[in-house]
Amino acid sequence: MNDTVDVPGLMIYAMASEIKNFDTVLHGVSSPLPVLAMSVARNTHAPDMGYISGAEGVDPVVDRIYPSSFDTRQNRNAVAYFGLHEAFDLAQRGELDVMFLGAAQIDRYGNTNLSVIGDIDRPKIQLPGGAASAFLMPITPKVVIWITRHSNRVFVDKVDFVTGQGYNNRSEEYKKNEVVVVSNLGVMNFKNPDRAMQIQSYHPGHTVDEIKEKTGFDVRVVPDVAETPVPGPEVIDFINNIDPDGVRWTEFR
């Protein structure tokens, strides 16, 4: 593994790579990695993207991130404000290209759980709630799920509760939309006729076998599976500069 690149850096770079130039992209709450990925993308290959902050600023100059992804200091030098209800209208029009969502559990078809461990009526663990997941998962052209603790307690055979809809819980129309999973071990997609999870790349220092072992179902592997691309030092510097406090590490603790 490249000594200079840590796991958050790898994940942020992989997440940033999912954004194309001219895409309109939104991040939500509790999202240090998406905030950093959007900033990296805009400062590298996607200068023309529409950046909608969960803090409501459009195209802000994010010079620092904070424990809250809605911190208004992340709106600095924004060109406009754009409310979440406006961003959701864009999504309903099919014009929100990319959204980043979290998951406490995920299964082979990309169903995510952010609601409860155990029974919904008497939860063993009350999770924070799905926020935008149930709404945005099916209708957004591309959803990137980030997971910082890849294990077979997270990648499960069956989620306790379907908060965000995987491919087997979608209408045909929405099956064409893309889901990508970026974990601390690798990048997974669903680009096969069955829309079942498959390993696209493994991060440096990790292997396909390790990912399979830490996944609670029979995850597939793409024929041309490869190592996840590593960001250059300028990307890492960029990340370090705007996250000197290491907020991005919080999710890994």
């Binding site: 803090a55 809250s68 992804s69 709106n75 404000y81 924070p128 709630g129 926020a131 099916p138 379907v162």
Partner: protein, 274 residues
């Protein structure tokens, strides 16, 4: 009509036990914390809380025993993790948790703001959230009358009271929010009663100088009270940032069973970190 009040005590009296209440702001930003603390001091009971993404405001009310039911898209403390009192009371079955999703909650507020009984939303289909609709209340699958598209109709959410903290207000209830507005305009229009706490009361003449900066006109607002640092420890754009250290202390107090002490210090005792 002058709507300005002289005390938070009076303002908090607009909230009755059992009311459906929503608060302005989002997570740690421009939440009406001082009025929330006053609700705790007045010992409100059985509140029914609804919001898209609340945090400290809802968790404090829950921890202080003011809440019977909660409906939110997400209730967490951002990167600090789960909302401690929410988690505890929900797992103990002491509050009823009706998990929604951000868009249906916004749509419910919007329906009420528009004077409509309900509003349809896309997405949602295929989520188990719909299967607990008996608990959640207010979802129905519908087909668009023109296209036949299957959508979820969300019943209007009309709070008894919306409590909103803003930067500036005048004595008639004209208000100015600076920076992000979140759903505050929608919530205010949706609610039966709108109670506003403001960092500053400014003369109406200031509103007349830049009407384009006015967020809500007086006829939407029912009561106004000045409340400096009224969002603390949450942020108030152009006035102060969120005090994340205080929020960490709150979490620590909740985790270490010292929540009563926290309430004594910061709510009943009105101690501040300043």
């Amino acid at each position: 009509m002058k709507k300005v009040l002289t005390s938070l005590e009076e303002a908090a009296k607009f909230v009755k036990d059992g009311d459906l209440v929503t608060t302005g702001g989002a997570t740690f930003h421009r939440a009406p914390m001082e009025l929330v603390r006053e609700l705790v001091r007045q010992g409100k009971k059985n509140l029914n809380l609804v919001d898209r993404e609340p945090a400290l405001d809802f968790d404090l009310l829950i921890g202080a025993g003011c809440v019977a039911k909660i409906r939110a898209g997400m209730l967490a403390f951002e990167v600090f993790g789960l909302a401690p009192n929410f988690r505890k009371k929900s797992e103990a079955g002491e509050i009823i948790t009706k998990e929604g999703a951000c868009q249906p909650i916004i749509a419910g507020f919007r329906a009420a703001a528009m004077g409509l009984p309900s509003l349809p939303v896309k997405g949602m289909l295929g989520s188990d959230l719909l299967e607990i609709s008996e608990v959640i209340g207010g979802y129905k699958q519908v087909e668009d009358p023109f296209t036949g598209e299957k959508m979820i109709a969300v019943r209007a959410i009309e709070p008894d009271v919306a409590v909103i903290h803003v930067q500036k207000a005048d004595e008639y209830g004209n208000i100015r929010i600076e920076g992000p507005v979140y759903e505050d305009v929608i919530k205010a229009k949706a609610a039966k009663v709108v109670v506003v706490t403001a960092e500053e009361l400014i003369p109406t003449s200031e509103f007349r100088k830049m009407p384009e900066a006015t967020t809500l006109p007086h006829f939407i607002v029912d009561a106004v009270v000045e409340s400096q640092k009224g969002a603390y420890p949450c942020s108030c754009f152009n006035y102060y940032d969120a005090d994340y250290d205080h929020i960490k202390d709150y979490l620590k107090a909740a985790a270490e069973d010292q929540f009563k002490e926290y309430l004594n210090n910061y709510v009943y005792g009105r101690k501040t970190d300043e």
